[in-house]
């Protein structure tokens, strides 16, 4: 059960974006071969041994890919579960189907978190106009409508501050099943990047504090400016989520810090943008931790050796980035710098403030 994949084995990655790219490099450092599966451009493929360029509904390509891999993971939470099922017939997929199902549907996610007794924003299911009025009783008249599926970086979302605004906001989602969420009055947003091994061992990186711009992560600062007790609570919450999902790999859990304690915002069943600081701030980063977990290795030492501030490079910002001094630059090798596209990130490190 806890067999360890030997160096020289092949790790498959469903999805070929920057997360896959950094996973591929971490896997290479451990002497593993990498096979990327991605229908579109794949900046991960350039640092991987193999690339299957095929659609996620191409069952034959998926089966061939799975047969060529010793274990398969994903770097994108919207990989269709049907694709995962095809792959899982030939190779273990870690984390498994359940984590994907929960993370792909905002309603399922909220219900899962509520079932664990964890606080979330108030929410209500909105399948159509007739659900709006009762939903606003739950959320209050200020909130946000979100499609249940396929939202990321602020896409598929519309805010409302009154009943009058809620109907057009829902119309903007073009009939997609949605949920209404009430606003959470929070001091700050933090995230915990945690890993769970095949043997059930859990390890978490120190919580980071996130600042967004235009719905996209802008900076993560570590340590987060929160009391030690709250940091511990945050890690314990991540641990409960990992255990409940019988999860193997790295997960990102976003939380709001409020007067009433921690409120879970969202979970991402994969390595996470807010964990990129670990590349430069820790001996073992989130990418290697994930590879270790899914390959059945013992988790590595994820203590941070330095404080860190990670800043995303979005769109054109990448062109000035090469001249930034005194920081570690990470570019993702994407050919085109489109507005809102994550092109790279920059990390500054400082000696541990706490000693």
């Amino acid at each position: 059960m806890t067999e360890m994949l030997a160096p020289g084995s092949t790790l498959g990655i469903l999805g070929g974006g920057q997360l896959g790219r950094m996973l591929a490099m971490a896997a290479a450092r451990l002497g593993l071969h990498v096979h990327v599966y991605e229908p579109g451009d794949a900046c991960a493929a350039e640092v991987a041994r193999d690339w299957t360029r095929a659609r996620f509904d191409d069952r034959e390509a998926l089966a061939r890919f799975a047969a060529a891999c010793d274990v398969v993971t994903y770097e994108w939470e919207n990989v269709p579960v049907e694709a995962v099922d095809v792959v899982a017939a030939a190779a273990p997929v870690r984390p498994g189907r359940r984590a994907l199902e929960v993370a792909q549907d905002r309603l399922a996610e909220k219900e899962f978190l509520g079932g664990l007794g964890l606080a979330t924003a108030p929410y209500a299911r909105v399948d159509g106009d007739e659900d709006l009025a009762p939903a606003l009783v739950v959320t209050g008249e200020r909130g946000i409508l979100k499609t249940r599926r396929f939202g990321y970086d602020g896409k598929g979302q519309a805010r409302f501050t009154s009943m009058a605004e809620a109907a057009p906001a829902l119309a903007a989602l073009e009939g997609a099943p949605a949920i209404a969420e009430g606003f959470v009055d929070f001091e700050r947003e933090i995230s915990v990047i945690a890993a769970r091994g095949l043997d059930g061992e859990v390890a978490a990186f120190d919580p980071g504090e996130n600042v967004h711009r235009d719905g996209i992560l802008h900076t993560t600062t570590v340590p987060a400016r929160i009391p030690a007790r709250l940091a511990q609570d945050a890690v314990l919450i991540a641990g409960r989520i990992l255990g409940a999902l019988d999860y193997v790999g790295v997960i990102g859990v976003e939380m709001f810090v409020t007067d009433q304690g921690l409120v879970v915002n969202e979970i991402a069943p994969r390595v996470h943008n807010s964990g990129h600081w670990t590349i430069d701030g820790c001996l073992i980063d989130q990418f290697e931790q994930h590879v270790r977990a899914v390959c059945g290795w013992r988790l590595g030492d994820g203590r941070r050796h330095s404080d860190a501030v990670m800043t995303n490079l979005i769109g054109d910002e990448v062109f000035e980035a090469a001249a930034i001094e005194g920081a570690a630059l990470h570019l993702y090798g994407k050919a085109q710098a489109r507005p809102g596209r994550k092109m790279g990130h920059v990390t500054r490190i400082m000696p541990l403030a706490g000693g």
Copy 2:
């Protein structure tokens, strides 16, 4: 003259071993494409976009490779200078021909170092038996015969402790042009990994202390146990060598610490095994520093954030390595673990002892 290669450009690497592999990953982090040129097995090719598999005397393949690259470097000091000349006709090669010429011939290297006023072991040219007796007047009767070319990791070397042993030692080198070197009575061996940018800027990593086993580097410990003044001397020596060669890129300079000060043992015109600790001990490591230099970028911040001990994994040692805890593991993805073959390395880091 100091034009900076843009992300998205292509870096060519002559040689495809582990040094090329770690260079390729550093280049990928900076958004560069990598093209490896290597006739044999190439563990670097797996993390590079392109691989030209051709011999170093295949002028046509070399010219095609050069035409596909924006700048070319090497990861192996025994790349034939004739190959470099073919490449240099189409793309800048950094570091240049001169550094290769000096490093490929132990006699030229000693003469170069002596010309800079730097101390080396006593040495004498040995082209044949008739040179032995006069050589031993220079070196004393205890010393080592080394082929002038193509030696590495203790290969092409034979020790002698008397005139009677010197003749068979020379015979063991099978007529290759050689030099005799006297033994240096040293406290410890250190090395400086230093970089010089296209604009002449020089930056050095903190000197490491090296321990060899069976002629192969076993560990590098940073900081080296030497007084601050001596560490500064070591860095200045590296700086003089870089300047004299009008060098662009990272160089490794091995030195002996003796009662009479520092004696230069050997220079390697490339990233160096004794600099592998920088991956885990510094924000910017020797591989990225080399890529920055040869691409005309400003050098990065190479200060160490942690003390470090790097241990090489040789031959079969690699099979136990995956279970090592509390350390960073780096495997090179080589298919076969032959005795004496460098398969990977492990780095432990500790908080800076000096604060």
